[in-house]
């Protein structure tokens, strides 16, 4: 979810005969379900694709703090405020786990951030939609983090060890996020008519953007095949989207809300719901930078980075000065002994 349309390096799926001995051995390890670790040999394209995917995933966590951070000061109760703060703090942690996983591939965090700030790396399209009112905070936790969980549960089995371990950790923390969102929705859906209307409106606006989180349909997803062969991706976009719809529709019914897709039907034959595709033209526009909040989100990240520079540099200078003083004192101390 947090990684959409990640470009896979190389030109399509390589067959065994196109691979050298080293690469064949590598693919055999992947096929056997082995985890690849940072210092193991890996094809360049595998490394590059992972850096792009994990980097995009990390950026999504960090940018994802913005739409929710927007409501921390306006949460309706002190308890809700504390919960939202904890959730947003978790997102920072998730970003950090992922940046560290990417760094084991030989890229630095600063390099990844430079790419993000220059617009050369993306983050999930969902965070380019606004959070207009408190109901949106419920809907984001429930729908957006719900979609994240579907994707990330699958990614726990990804072939790259540090990425897989980061996913395990994130999944443990993520269900708090989805649940707190659902509880906000329950409260609003059982509240006054105005509150119910807000809950319905939030669902109406966020339903299709949530479905877009899984990326384009498999038939249009040009990069998926090689990533699946490497087990960087474990399940296809459409498989994950179906799973998400199947688990979310009963929750919508429980809330007494109405799915904005009038064509939702249970399909007994396939054992899942039939549903309408989101507007993919809108998706591509948002990815290109023309969503409702793209400029605001990236602008906020760049500003935070620029404004924080003196803090980063100051702490580094302080640490160096302290280390130098400690070193000098140790020299002097050893001199006194003699």
């Amino acid at each position: 979810m947090y990684a959409q349309m990640v470009k896979t390096s190389g030109s399509g799926v390589k067959s065994r005969s196109e691979m050298g001995a080293q690469e064949q051995a590598f693919q055999a390890r992947i096929d056997a379900g082995d985890k690849i670790e940072p210092r193991d040999w890996m094809p360049d394209e595998y490394r590059k694709t992972l850096i792009r995917q994990i980097g995009q995933h990390a950026h999504s966590e960090i940018v994802g703090q913005l739409p929710e951070g927007n409501w921390i000061t306006r949460a309706p109760t002190l308890e809700r405020k504390a919960i939202l703060l904890a959730k947003v703090q978790d997102e920072a942690g998730h970003g950090l786990y992922l940046y560290c996983a990417a760094e084991t591939l030989g890229v630095s965090r600063d390099e990844l951030l430079t790419e993000l700030h220059a617009g050369r790396m993306k983050y999930s399209s969902i965070f380019n939609y606004p959070t207009l009112n408190w109901a949106d905070i419920g809907a984001v936790g429930w729908l957006v983090d719900g979609a994240a969980i579907v994707n990330q549960v699958a990614l726990q089995r990804t072939s790259y060890g540090p990425y897989s371990r980061a996913m395990v950790r994130i999944c443990k923390e993520e269900s708090f996020h989805a649940r707190q969102g659902f509880v906000i929705m329950m409260k609003m859906a059982s509240g006054t008519p105005a509150q119910r209307a807000m809950a319905q409106d939030a669902l109406d606006r966020l339903w299709y953007p949530s479905l877009m989180m899984f990326g384009p349909s498999d038939k249009d997803s040009v990069h998926s095949e090689q990533s699946m062969a490497w087990k960087i991706k474990v399940k296809s976009n459409d498989e994950l989207r179906q799973k998400y719809v199947d688990q979310t529709i009963p929750q919508i019914e429980y809330l007494g809300l109405k799915c904005p897709d009038a064509d939702i039907r249970w399909n007994g034959e396939k054992g899942g719901y039939d549903f309408s595709e989101p507007d993919w033209a809108e998706f591509y526009e948002v990815i290109k930078g023309n969503g409702p909040c793209n400029k605001e989100r990236l602008g906020a990240r760049v500003k935070a980075w620029d404004d924080g520079e003196w803090v980063r540099d100051g702490l580094m200078a302080h640490a160096q000065k302290k280390a130098a003083a400690k070193h000098a004192a140790a020299q002097e101390g050893s001199g006194n002994v003699e």
Partner: protein
């Protein structure tokens, strides 16, 4: 232009008297900050009672290519496992 903080590896001792375990890494300008950030990042849910921080550059590691040959010698020494020895039932637990 980049004055990036060094990378630290964080080890946490859980609640139950276990040894410290590697939980992940983070960037920090010095050891003190690494430990404080380690608390914020890796113990938000009571995961630990003690934190070690080691600068990543100071960690020595075995070579991944050695995986087979380096550890093979122990494969043939199955007598190191207690189950190698059959003790008659009437002797009781041993």
């Amino acid at each position: 232009m980049s004055n990036e903080w060094p990378l630290w590896e964080i080890f946490i001792r859980g609640q139950h008297g276990m040894s410290h375990r590697h939980v992940g890494s983070l960037h920090a300008p010095d050891a003190e900050t690494a430990i404080r950030n380690g608390r914020d990042v890796y113990t938000r849910r009571n995961e630990g009672v003690s934190i070690w921080a080691v600068e990543s550059a100071h960690i020595a590691a075995s070579a991944p290519g050695d995986k087979g040959p380096y550890y093979d010698p122990s494969d043939s020494k199955i007598y190191r496992h207690p189950t190698f020895f059959d003790i008659p039932d009437e002797v009781g637990s041993m």
